[in-house]
């Protein structure tokens, strides 16, 4: 079904694409006014296009014109380096007017990047990307002068993953700044960048970044193939691409990683992964992605390995607990009461006195309420936040218990699972879905149902692959440095090899193994 829809869609889109091409098929003429008219035609009804005609006062042949979009260019560059030299200098004593355009390019215009171009498509696309087009009367060519200069957010600490220890810079919305952030961390000619454009209307710049000699060619080719297949009108954020190139279409789990931190991306590149920068998005994608990465934090690698391993273990067990605690509570209190010590059982049953709903209903209710509060809190303006906090904690917690809508242990279980879920920010979605799945298993057959649901989740995870790499990679293996960075973070002096499978080409990370304490 879905395939059929897709095919229909893509033919539609092709039709639209050819329309667009016909419009810009005109070629440059020799006459300046005709060229300007052509551009006015292409950018008709676009009032941000600015056309500035000017002429050198000594050389009347130098009738020129610059075209640019208001707000996209740095006007200082435009005024001082392009218009002013041509306007006020005496061009006649410097230049023979035989090949004026090239002479201007070589001797007059002050800019770091100037190209002579005849291809109309290229001219149009660089104009909309913030470059200035320079036209000269009598030439069927144009100069593209780099003058990009729009306002950008500065490099500051990413909100989504803060650290106490470690670099505090985060990616911005500009792809070039993002690339420079990574480039500065890996000063090596082997770091390669490959650009392409995706999105027929947005023409979003996308850059595949990898370290030659570390990244596997098979994965690189697979990534390129999947990017080739994308036929979408626009890419606004890397999330679009993340979903379009992901392996498991019907899974809540992400098979493509995303990070906002240059240090994380640099580390992943060094492990042999491939990064994908998308213009306009501060989130950089990495492939292949395995589930162990979801609970790795940048800080793990900067703190002492003992402390980091403890945190890692806490986070990993938080995943298991966050999905199983509500189900376990339900199973034990409704099917296997004998497992509880008698005093605890008595207090639980006492607190349930007068509560009208069965445990499973109140659990589902409270879990949904928690997720509602979480979702409300995420996008809420800060001043309103306090109100929601008070309503959430007091009204829905305390008051619900006192009004005998739910029992106190249910509230405790909900709060505990909520906190445990937040320990792994990257996995919130899958954890919530798995938790409800396990809860229904437990409601159906007690702890046996819980185990069945757990096995089913495991089967699903085992079948997942990210670009050919098993999603559950290395979770149970300790041989050959496979488990060095999964449940614990091994000390740096023992991590002499890169993880296998991902960087099968060059495993050696440290050549000499340092002895303990030396």
């Amino acid at each position: 079904m879905i395939k059929r829809f897709r095919r229909k869609d893509s033919t539609d889109r092709k039709g639209r694409q050819t329309d667009q091409k016909n419009k810009s098929m005109t070629t440059l003429k020799e006459s300046l006014e005709e060229n300007i008219a052509a551009f006015q035609n292409i950018f008709s009804k676009n009032e941000t296009l600015i056309i500035r005609r000017f002429q050198n006062k000594y050389l009347s042949a130098a009738k020129c014109c610059v075209l640019y979009f208001d707000g996209m260019v740095n006007t200082e560059i435009l005024n001082e380096n392009i218009i002013q030299p041509i306007l006020s200098n005496d061009l006649t004593d410097k230049i023979s007017s035989i090949n004026l355009l090239e002479e201007l390019q070589y001797k007059v215009i002050v800019s770091n990047n100037v190209k002579i171009v005849t291809d109309m498509d290229q001219i149009v696309s660089s104009a909309v990307y913030g470059d200035t087009i320079f036209l000269l009367d009598g030439y069927a060519k144009a100069l593209i002068i780099e003058s990009k200069g729009w306002k950008m957010r500065s490099v500051d600490e990413p909100e989504s993953s803060k650290v106490v220890r470690g670099p505090r810079e985060g990616f911005t919305e500009s792809i070039l700044i993002n690339l420079s952030l990574v480039r500065r961390k890996i000063v090596n000619p082997d770091l390669k960048f490959k650009f392409r454009e995706i999105g027929e209307r947005t023409r979003t710049k996308v850059c595949i970044c990898y370290i030659e000699g570390l990244a596997l060619e098979s994965i690189f080719k697979e990534l390129e193939q999947r990017l080739d297949k994308i036929q979408i009108d626009g890419i606004i954020d890397s999330g679009y691409i993340q979903e379009l190139i992901g392996d498991a279409v019907f899974s809540p789990f992400e098979t493509v990683g995303a990070s906002e931190r240059p240090d994380v991306i640099a580390a992943k590149l060094l492990e042999g992964r491939i990064a994908l920068f998308v213009d306009g998005s501060p989130f950089v994608l990495t492939v292949p992605f395995v589930i162990a990465e979801a609970s790795q934090s940048a800080e793990d690698y900067y703190n002492s390995y003992i402390f980091a391993s403890m945190n890692r273990l806490l986070r990993m067990s938080a995943i298991i607990l966050a999905i199983s605690i509500p189900g376990l509570f339900l199973a034990v209190t409704t099917y296997h009461q004998e497992m509880l010590p008698t005093p605890l059982l008595l207090s639980i049953s006492a607190s349930r006195q007068g509560v009208p709903f069965p445990t499973v209903v109140s659990l589902v209710l409270m879990l949904v309420v928690f997720d509602v509060l979480r979702e409300a809190g995420t996008r809420m303006p800060t001043p309103i936040g306090q109100a929601v906090n008070i309503v959430g904690t007091l009204v829905l917690g305390q008051a619900a218990v006192e009004a005998k809508l739910v029992s106190a242990p249910v509230v405790i279980v909900t709060a505990l699972t909520g906190i445990l879920t937040l320990m792994n920010i990257n996995l919130i979605g899958p954890i919530i879905i798995m938790r409800f799945f396990l809860l229904f298993g437990a409601a159906f057959l007690g702890i046996y149902g819980l185990i069945f649901a757990f096995i089913l989740v495991n089967i699903h995870l085992v079948t997942l692959r990210s670009f050919g790499v098993p999603y559950m990679m290395n979770l149970t293996s300790v041989k050959n440095h496979n488990g060095q960075d999964v449940w614990i973070r091994a000390p740096w002096w023992t991590m002499t090899l890169r993880p296998k499978i991902i960087a099968a080409k060059n495993l050696v990370r440290q050549t000499t193994k340092r002895k303990k304490g030396k």
Binding site: Y335, M339, F444, L445, I447, I455, I459, M472, T476
Partner: protein
């Protein structure tokens, strides 16, 4: 077509779970009473030579499963007849395991729930796993074997206060015969049931792997079963022979400081995981066999049908739990003997002759 491949470790985990699966809950060597552990050792010793035969058959034909081997050495007609017998054996064994699970849940946990419900759950989980392929079954075994071993070990340690070593005496009070009988039943269930793994080991990487997998898997499983049998004897004493699910009762006796008590659900976890892998392997073998006999290109489209039939067959296979116990200890060893010993020996001899001949011709 994509070739499925499992590593030695996955195969060992699978074999381990397969062997300890339903054995843990039903126990072995019921006849021998407090000498059941000696019967266990006897069973392992009896199993060793036949395991050697299985490994030999498997390593003579690397990359081929049981049904390929049968047709290639016994000819098309006779080979397929024997293949049908093995399909029946796998199908029946899977149904028995599902039924064991159903009886277990019905007896100890949910007497009022219709038995079909838990059996259907187990069966459906197995169907999902087998449809995903043997690789998935192997990988999931490696993931499940760790919590399982941890639980067994923890429970074993917690049971120490309950152990009464004098229950194990007197040795050999009823002579050698009950031990041999118990040993034989332990040989048939569970050790020699691993014959079905010949249908799985086509996916192993190297030629030597079957030996390694069979021997390490079986020795770990044997040691675990022995430990658990000794624990059950020491905790339960005379009661052992009279209980349907001795491990369950033995573990329920554990009580640490009035806080950690009645942890028999841990046994249920081990049992479910074991039963899942065992049924999964049986279902896989049956489906693959059916696929081979009817010359299907892939076995996956018939998994759902075979699985549902297996569940339904398990529903009607016994009338009561007494019949199940009687079958498991009294009849099953003799019923399974041809599948576990006679046919493998025939296959082995034929295979040796065939490969020798081939070697001479070359």
């Amino acid at each position: 077509m994509y070739k499925e491949q499992i590593t030695d470790r996955e195969a060992i985990s699978m074999l381990l779970l397969f062997v300890i699966g339903s054995t843990l809950i039903i126990g072995i060597g019921g006849d021998a009473k407090n000498d059941a552990w000696i019967a266990g050792i006897a069973g392992i010793l009896m199993a060793l030579p036949i395991i050697l035969v299985y490994s030999r058959i498997s390593s003579l034909f690397p990359g081929k499963d049981l049904f390929d081997i049968l047709t290639s050495i016994l000819g098309k007609v006779f080979g397929k007849t024997v293949a049908v017998l093995y399909i029946w054996y796998a199908f029946h064994l899977g149904a028995l395991v599902i039924r064991n699970f159903g009886e277990f849940i019905n007896t100890v946990a949910m007497p009022e729930t219709p038995m079909l419900v838990p059996m259907l759950c187990l069966g459906l989980v197995c169907i999902v796993a087998v449809r995903a392929g043997i690789e998935v079954l192997g990988r999931i075994s490696t993931y499940l074997v760790f919590p399982l071993m941890a639980i067994i070990m923890i429970v074993q340690i917690l049971a120490i206060p309950e152990l009464k070593p004098n229950y194990i005496k007197p040795f050999l009070s009823q002579g050698i015969m009950p031990i041999l009988k118990g040993g034989f039943s332990a040989f048939a269930f569970p050790f020699a049931e691993t014959i079905l793994f010949i249908a799985v080991f086509f996916s192993l990487k190297t030629k030597r792997s079957p030996y390694k997998v069979y021997f390490s898997g079986l020795s770990i499983a044997g040691v675990l079963i022995l430990l658990l049998t000794i624990r059950n004897i020491m905790v339960l004493g005379d009661l052992l022979g009279r209980l349907y699910f001795p491990s369950h009762v033995a573990v329920s006796r554990i009580n640490i400081g009035n806080f950690l008590e009645r942890i028999e659900v841990s046994v249920a976890f081990v049992f479910i995981v074991g039963a899942f892998v065992k049924t999964g392997v049986c279902l896989f073998a049956a489906c693959r066999g059916i696929g081979k006999v009817f010359n299907l290109t892939d076995y996956k489209p018939i998994v759902i049908q075979t699985g549902l039939l297996m569940i339904y067959f398990s529903y009607i296979v016994y009338d009561s739990i007494m019949e199940m116990r009687n079958w498991a200890f009294k009849v099953y060893p003799y019923y399974a003997f041809p599948f576990q010993v006679i046919l493998p020996l025939v296959i082995w001899i034929a295979a040796e002759i065939k490969t020798r001949k081939k070697a001479k011709q070359c």
